[in-house]
Symmetry: C2
Subunit: 344 residues, 2 copies
């Protein structure tokens, strides 16, 4: 059994085929998952040429984006996020949806390593063609997460996914960034003594549209019932949301496969609501403009803090400020003046 | 009765006496309220030379600052803020304190005009030498409010005020800025159906250290009792604060002059707590460094958005972004590149 003498030629041919942003974009729009993965990898690359390539792909995909439901889901480790999303996603697919899951992975000290690296944690979904699962490392800056995830949403939408789930661990500030790119924000909790709330960053609770208690089974049923009541009261204490939606409190059991219908109904009601009062469109517009301005600020900031003269000076200045030798205002003025003398 | 022939000469003499930052600072440190007022006016001026004068004064006052209790108090219009602060302040003075009240006045559409212009709204306090009341217009940018108020705190502390109250109306984002410059955050509420919460910006409730129901008298007594319970439950739902302080819910009646003792005790307990766990010092240091970096960002931002070429381009670009003609990321890059070509 001889090797096909043309094999090297063929492989080489495949390898050398020039991959253009146009080609990748075309394939994404056709629903090619490999093209999608590849574009996201380029997007997340720290190399300038890869990023420029990705920018071009995004530009071409933009007109095909925007038609999905963008859903943020957060919950601390141990709440059963994977099980929930697996169960939730399967039901969405059974209802004819195609879902992309972008998991923001803090890959940091907080969670003690990657919590999302393993695709197999979503057993049902990882085997299905209608689901696309992609963990994204946060790799440093928050602006980074937000920017990359926002652009990944665009690519996934262009690839035909009509439901985008952005998954976060609910312990950091990423939720605030995520809330600025989704239409609806869901939080998962497991019934308990309240201690589990200690891990949740303040401010997150106020962003919640749909609160879901997981593991509503066995010993947990009574606790869940009680907790649901308490949270219904607590959520009423919050001022009205811009969407005028009143947050709902639900419960599911991934183990007993119960409760997901209520979640799907609540989600449908939510989207009905924000479509009918035009909040969906308004919010998306605001998010885009916000995104532009966030990016501007993030670039200005990066340029400033990455300036070598500045980073040296800043340390000294911070100490002077703490020691009350100079007012923060005067110090800031001085630093920025120095910066603009150096730039160019 | 003839006019003193020297009167013009005398007046002219007074007028022409050169006022230096050193002189103003010396007078502030001696406790001269006029010098204090004058410095704050210069601080709030939009003229560059006045600001530079104020910067110099602040620099000289800095070593004398930092020794006060910095208290943020917020509450929507109608909650009885003036009555409360009047009652609260009087009791503080009776306990030997000197208090400065910096009222952040949104002077905007929200409140329908100046809510704080009239000093006489605090009847008892406005007559007392131990109290200094100063409304500050927000005049546009939020960074502006924060910057000016932060520097005003320094001046008031240098003038010997040991309790600084920063008053806001609890409807805007200023509370978040305020929380970054105070040690303790108090919110005033009046018992009711919950509708009054609609006006409070989301996120504020989570910052509260001491919640005080006002108007706990007459028909309101039962409602207040019930509301206090509800809020005690609700506040427990929030995750722990960085200070590890558990928020307290109290009630007062300014009309019946009852309840203020509890507020003073709670405040003392709070400061005992944050001193003993070193949160006070840590928080102040963090606030200073935060302040420096906020200021840097605010200057960078102002320079960018005030650039004429940019402001014209930005409008067009925002529209392109909303129309999905360009990705916000690409648009931001383009704008910043243009900006640095123009600068200098």
């Amino acid at each position: 059994m001889g090797i096909n003498p043309n094999i090297n030629k063929i492989l080489k041919g495949i390898k050398n085929e020039p991959v253009t942003p146009q080609k990748i974009a075309d394939n994404i729009i056709k629903g090619d998952r490999n093209a999608l993965s590849r574009a996201i990898t380029k997007l997340e690359s720290s190399k300038t040429d890869e990023q420029e390539f990705a920018d071009e792909v995004i530009k071409l995909c933009l007109p095909y984006s925007g038609k999905s439901r963008r859903i943020g889901i957060t919950g601390v480790p141990g709440v059963g996020k994977s099980t929930f999303i697996d169960y939730f996603g399967e039901n969405l697919i059974d209802n004819g949806h195609k879902i992309a899951i972008l998991a923001i992975d803090p890959s940091s000290s907080i969670s003690g390593g990657s919590i999302l690296g393993d695709k197999t944690r979503m057993e049902s979904l990882s085997g299905r063609i209608e689901a696309f699962i992609r963990p994204s490392p946060t790799s440093g800056t928050l602006g980074g997460v937000a920017a990359k995830t926002r652009e990944s949403i665009i690519l996934c939408e262009a690839a035909g996914f009509d439901t985008i789930i952005i998954e976060t661990v609910g312990v950091g500030q990423s939720e605030i960034a995520v809330s600025s790119m989704v239409d609806v924000f869901m939080m998962l909790l497991v019934a308990g003594t309240g201690d589990e709330l200690q891990g949740i960053k303040r401010g997150i609770m106020e962003m919640v549209d749909i609160l879901v208690f997981t593991k509503d089974d066995g010993d947990n049923i009574n606790r869940t019932k009680l907790n649901k009541k308490q949270f219904e009261i607590a959520l009423k204490m919050f001022p009205a949301k811009d969407s005028l939606w009143i947050p709902e409190v639900l419960s599911v059991s991934g183990f007993e496969k119960k409760g997901i219908d209520d979640v799907l109904i609540s989600l449908n009601n939510f989207f009905e609501h924000i479509k009918s009062n035009d909040y969906l469109a308004q919010n998306r517009q605001n998010q885009s403009i916000q995104w532009l301005n966030d990016q501007i600020l993030s670039i200005l900031k990066n340029r400033f803090y990455k300036n070598e003269n500045i980073s040296n000076l800043l340390k000294i200045t911070e100490q002077e400020v703490v020691n009350q030798q100079i007012s923060p205002i005067a110090a800031a003025k001085k630093l920025v003046e120095k910066y603009f003398c150096n730039e160019q």
